[in-house]
Symmetry: C2
Subunit: 119 residues, 2 copies
């Protein structure tokens, strides 16, 4: 069992190509014993964005604070605000952008990408 | 891709034996296409509690609003407040209680319990 406190965990800059002004911290991960599910907290600063990219695992997202734009596989922009949740399929292009003036914060939950998922 | 709004999804009473004053809604689940990860939102009213129980899948939890008590496998009580996150191993007794005067709200994320998990 682990109990972690978001407030005392530092953000780390996301240095992935195509990311701009994005920070991330892992809230629950493999060091906590969680071998199937990883919960991360992202913050996209005003004018920031994640890479437009895809990968072979899904995203389960909960918007935690303020608002931003989710760009779907077709390039359609959706304003997403605190309280909304998203499901993004594996192998589909996606991006989060923040054209607003407050930090855009969300949880992004993924399966352990180092494991084969069943079925 | 699904975008859901927590605010417009109704809570349902949890009628499981041992649950008292607990409500739940699924934010992202199988109908959204999410076959590995299910994200639920729980609210435990003042004086409410979940069952003290265990099951063969883990919990990844994020406290979203106010505070409550998490009772671990040894029966130790931990006060958990907004911003904290928890990992609860499979097959370990656990319970959430709310002895306070405000609704205790958290996300509880699980793997799809109808699937075998790998490895």
């Amino acid at each position: 069992m682990s109990i972690n406190n978001d407030a005392t965990r530092p953000f780390q800059d996301v240095r992935m190509e195509g990311a701009h002004q994005v920070k991330m911290k892992i809230l629950i991960g493999i060091p906590d014993g969680s071998s199937n599910i990883i919960m991360r907290h992202f913050e996209v600063s005003p004018e920031g964005h994640t890479p437009r990219h895809q990968h072979d695992y899904e995203h389960v997202v909960k918007i935690e604070k303020n608002k931003g734009i989710f760009v779907d596989a077709l390039g359609t922009e959706h304003e997403v605000t605190e309280g909304m949740s998203l499901y993004v399929e594996p192998n589909t292009d996606h991006q989060f952008r923040n054209p607003y003036d407050k930090p855009f914060e969300f949880l992004c939950i993924i399966p352990n990408p180092e494991k084969n998922r069943c079925c």
